[in-house]
């Protein structure tokens, strides 16, 4: 099997394909492990389209869908193999499907066209796997249209496969696409905190869009996710600061705590003045160690 993997591995000890294969073989029984090794051998370096489609589909029937439940050493190996890669929530079928794709070789054009074919006839769980694999595919910039297609999906699990715990969007999407993605996450009720690079990719235009969205929700007397304010904080000046003032005075506990967290990153002096006017609450948020992963539960 090593020959298959080494065929395209620059550093065999640490590529995603190598670690995926190790993780799988540690977890699979003998029959399932043998099936996987045979499938990898048949696809190594390319394989036929028919074998690829069939093997990828059969994965869930042959290997099951258990959670990988990576241990600390394995999660560390993931980071070495691919910076910012977070497969902590991956399942056996997802890992195996992506591994099968990866061993077909590093030529990006062929890879992308076969991925298109696979996505055209995919079931839900296959789509989730293919989109979770985006950060591992060869020639990353070739897959931007694929990522955009996933973001467009009406199926929340598919959308989140691109958007959550996936470094690809922050690395590859232009600002316009990135901003739409964040807005859509709020729109469909997806959490923002699992988005990789959320703070790094914040921008003034996104802050404006989110402010407008908040006003739309207020006008309709609908609730607003406290997470919305995270991407607004660094750009809070003028009218956006007035929005923060409104949240701090009339918001729910979680919204007010989110406003405090967001304003910590504000650059405008008036923003810190606003925070000072709510010093008691600000200090409670600090004392309780609230952060963006726990703010939704703050009360």
């Amino acid at each position: 099997m090593n020959t298959v993997v080494n065929a395209f591995a620059v550093n065999a000890a640490s590529t995603p394909a190598v670690v995926l294969q190790q993780w799988l073989l540690r977890r699979l029984g003998p029959a399932a492990g043998l099936w996987l090794e045979e499938a990898l051998a048949s696809l190594g370096g390319g394989g036929s389209d028919r074998d690829l489609y069939r093997c990828v589909s059969l994965v869930s029937r042959k290997l099951g869908k258990a959670a990988l439940e990576l241990d600390a050493a394995e999660r560390a190996a993931a980071c070495v193999a691919r910076p910012d890669w977070d497969p902590s929530s991956w399942t056996v079928d997802q890992a195996a499907r992506i591994l099968l794709l990866l061993v077909t070789g590093p030529e990006g054009g062929r890879f992308a066209s076969r991925l298109d074919q696979l996505c055209a006839t995919a079931d839900i769980d296959e789509l989730v796997a293919f989109y979770r694999g985006l950060p591992l595919y060869p020639e990353p910039s070739r897959h931007r249209a694929r990522a955009a297609e996933g973001v467009r999906s009406n199926m929340k699990v598919v959308f989140e496969a691109v958007v959550h715990r996936n470094p690809y969007p922050a690395e590859q999407l232009a600002d316009e696409a990135w901003n739409q993605m964040v807005l859509k996450a709020l729109f469909v009720g997806s959490a923002l905190h699992p988005i990789v690079g959320l703070d790094r990719r914040s921008n003034a235009e996104l802050a404006r869009m989110l402010g407008d969205y908040a006003h739309e929700r207020w006008a309709a007397r609908r609730t607003i996710s406290p997470e919305l304010w995270r991407c607004v904080g660094p750009f809070a000046v003028g009218p956006l600061l007035e929005d923060f003032s409104r949240v701090l005075e009339t918001g729910t506990a979680a919204e007010r705590a989110a406003a405090v967290l967001a304003l910590r990153n504000a650059t405008d002096a008036d923003a810190h003045g606003l925070l000072d006017r709510h010093a008691a609450f600000r200090d409670v948020v600090a004392a309780r160690g609230v952060d963006w992963t726990t703010v939704l539960a703050f009360n």
């Binding site: 028919r50 489609y53 069939r54 589909s57 059969l58 869930s60 029937r61 869908k65 258990a66 959670a67 399942t91 055209a120 006839t121 995919a122 079931d123 839900i124 769980d125 296959e126 789509l127 989730v128 009406n154 199926m155 929340k156 699990v157 009720g189 997806s190 959490a191 996710s225 406290p226 997470e227 939704l296």
Partner: protein, 307 residues
């Protein structure tokens, strides 16, 4: 109170239907690939349709707490377009191994033409290669002869009757189907096919072995609650509980369970990692109050099946 509707075209139905079905106790549905009321003109529309059966529609059902399965095949009407049929036969193998595909179907005869015969046989061959159950659509016209011919061809092609469902039966066909060891599906339509009252009498006469019912609800006049309604009527008319359970739930599970893709555990004890169960609400919190459904209750045939 649990029901399976083993033949229903949910792609043609509304979310109101899903809500009513869930409330009436439907836990799982099987959506056979069929035609769309007008003929498709190219293989691309088949690809999109079949992909929606394993993708979007399954997701949509999950949002209402109903598990969605499907059968994959080239229907008899469109088998009459030979160029299209050839192209569809080429893509079917790409779908047969997908998760939740429980059979090849619905296939068989419509006008009983030579082309229908050709592609019925070709798909029976495919079912044997992939070791799958087959769902056979029997024709509206010349029904009795068409049903017998469907069974003859299936046996000729080497299918075991225990892996073949002969669907859309009536009083005239049921005896032959049961005697030859096939499974007998009954479709309850408000105006054509079987009525609820007639169905009660069939179960009274033939019992429940290898007999089960479905709504075949689609884009025409049809009733997505036909299975729970008929189950209730059977109980009211004194049919034994175990016969109602078998015809409205258990037999569908037994025949399509042979696929390995259709398992009671999917709705009784959904796995937390299963992507399609995430939308039941309690697996992933996104800051909103989750919808937490009660655990599935044991089979109790309550009175309030439907209003």
């Amino acid at each position: 109170m649990r029901f399976i509707d083993p033949h229903i075209h949910m792609s043609s139905r509304t979310t109101d239907d899903y809500e009513r079905m869930k409330a009436a106790g439907v836990v799982a549905v099987i959506e056979p690939a069929f035609w769309l009321g007008q003929p498709r003109t190219n293989v691309g529309s088949f690809i999109d349709y079949l992909s929606s059966l394993v993708g979007w529609e399954r997701f949509r059902a999950s949002q209402f707490g109903i598990r969605h399965y499907c059968t994959i095949g080239l229907n008899s009407k469109e088998a009459n377009n030979e160029e299209l049929a050839e192209a569809v036969m080429d893509i079917l193998p790409r779908y047969l191994s997908k998760e939740g595909v429980v059979a090849v179907g619905e296939i068989g005869f419509d006008d009983q033409t030579a082309l229908e015969d050709k592609y019925y046989r070709a798909q029976l061959q495919l079912a044997r290669e992939f070791d799958m159950v087959v769902m056979v659509h029997t024709p509206h016209r010349d029904k009795k002869a068409g049903t017998i011919r469907s069974m003859d061809v299936a046996v000729e092609m080497g299918m075991s009757p225990g892996k073949v469902v002969i669907d859309h039966n009536n009083e005239e066909t049921v005896r032959a189907v049961l005697d030859r060891g096939f499974w007998a599906g009954f479709t309850l339509y408000p105006q054509t096919k079987m009525g609820n009252e007639r169905m009660v009498e069939i179960v009274r006469q033939y019992g429940s072995e290898r007999i089960f019912i479905n709504s075949s609800a689609d884009w025409g006049v049809s009733d997505p609650l036909a299975v729970p309604k008929t189950g209730r009527l059977m109980l009211e008319r004194g049919i034994a509980l175990e016969d109602v359970e078998a015809t409205c739930y258990g037999n569908a599970l037994r025949v399509y369970g042979q696929s390995g893709q259709f398992d009671e555990a999917h709705w009784m004890t959904p796995e937390a990692v299963d992507q399609r169960s995430l939308f039941e609400g309690n697996s992933v919190l996104r800051g909103q109050t989750p919808r937490v459904d009660d655990a599935p209750a044991p089979a109790v045939w309550a009175e309030d099946v439907t209003k």
